[in-house]
């Protein structure tokens, strides 16, 4: 059983700020790696992933499905505690 209080987030501000900064750190890290690879003439991260998906189309489709199910679980569920 849930009520208004139990579905109200008590740590939203701090939590979402940490989420944003964690995602920012990961994206900046990947984009710096990409830049280094471009400057050195090495295969970039994106190129490696694209190569892998080209060679393993079924694994790639499976991974896309998993990622999309993961994304969808955020917005195809109501806001409430389980």
């Amino acid at each position: 059983m849930t009520n208004d209080i139990s579905v109200t987030s008590g740590t939203y501000t701090t939590g979402v700020v940490y989420v944003i900064w964690a995602i920012t750190f990961a994206l900046v890290f990947i984009s710096v790696l990409e830049l280094i690879c471009e400057l050195k003439g090495w295969p970039t991260i994106s190129h490696r992933v694209e190569d892998w998906s080209d060679k393993n189309p079924w694994f790639s489709r499976g991974l896309i499905t998993v990622l999309f199910v993961f994304l969808a679980h955020f917005f195809l569920n109501p806001l409430q505690k389980p």
């Binding site: 059983m1 849930t2 208004d4 209080i5 139990s6 579905v7 109200t8 987030s9 008590g10 740590t11 939203y12 501000t13 939590g15 979402v16 700020v17 989420v19 944003i20 900064w21 964690a22 995602i23 920012t24 750190f25 990961a26 994206l27 900046v28 890290f29 990947i30 984009s31 990409e34 830049l35 280094i36 690879c37 471009e38 050195k40 003439g41 090495w42 295969p43 970039t44 991260i45 994106s46 190129h47 694209e50 998906s53 080209d54 790639s60 896309i64 990622l67 999309f68 994304l71 969808a72 679980h73 955020f74 917005f75 195809l76 569920n77 109501p78 806001l79 409430q80 505690k81 389980p82």
Partner: protein, 178 residues
């Protein structure tokens, strides 16, 4: 020209992402809402599924604009960068799932008090709620879902035209698209 613009994009992307992330974090920390309104029923919403699919196809179409890149095969660089990227990704994912597990363990249906520690899932749903409460559609949420989907479509479902010196694969010849 094409390669120059591509390199410029790679130079500008890290500072752009860093500034955007820090700005958003500070803005929410100082002025953002402290919670979300559970009386609203903004979720579930199938609009985002449509955005996901549009982004996936868009990411694939984006790869049509550039031929497969030329790369210098330096084995040492390949190995170090590949291992660094893989190890970092697994480390980050482990951290995320650890925080999610701790957050999930700290909430209870029976608990009527406001939680002191919650899973990341709640923060993201709560952010979508606040976004939709602020502008109706939830444009920030749509933009983020679209960006992630474009990246997934571009990386995992890419369809670059081959390099001029690159032979077509049997699958490409069969499709006759390149």
């Amino acid at each position: 020209m094409e390669d120059g613009l591509h390199l410029l994009f790679h130079f500008l992307l890290p500072p752009y992402l860093a500034v955007l992330g820090v700005f958003l974090g500070l803005a929410i920390d100082r002025n953002g809402p402290i919670t979300c309104d559970p009386k609203q029923t903004y979720l579930p919403d199938w609009l985002f599924v449509g955005v996901e699919l549009a982004g996936l196809v868009g990411g694939r179409l984006l790869s049509h604009w550039r031929r497969r890149p030329y790369v210098v095969q330096t084995e040492r660089g390949r190995e170090i960068m590949g291992q660094l990227a893989m190890a970092s990704m697994l480390l980050i994912l482990t951290g995320i799932w650890f925080v999610e597990a701790i957050g999930t363990a700290h909430i209870s249906m029976a608990d009527t008090s406001t939680a002191t520690f919650e899973p990341i899932t709640f923060y993201i749903r709560c952010a979508i709620y606040n976004d939709r409460a602020a502008n109706g559609v939830g444009w920030w949420s749509v933009a983020i879902v679209l960006s992630i989907s474009v990246l997934v479509g571009h990386w995992l479902w890419a369809d670059h035209p081959p390099r001029l010196d690159e032979p077509q694969s049997p699958a490409q010849e069969e499709r006759g698209t390149r």
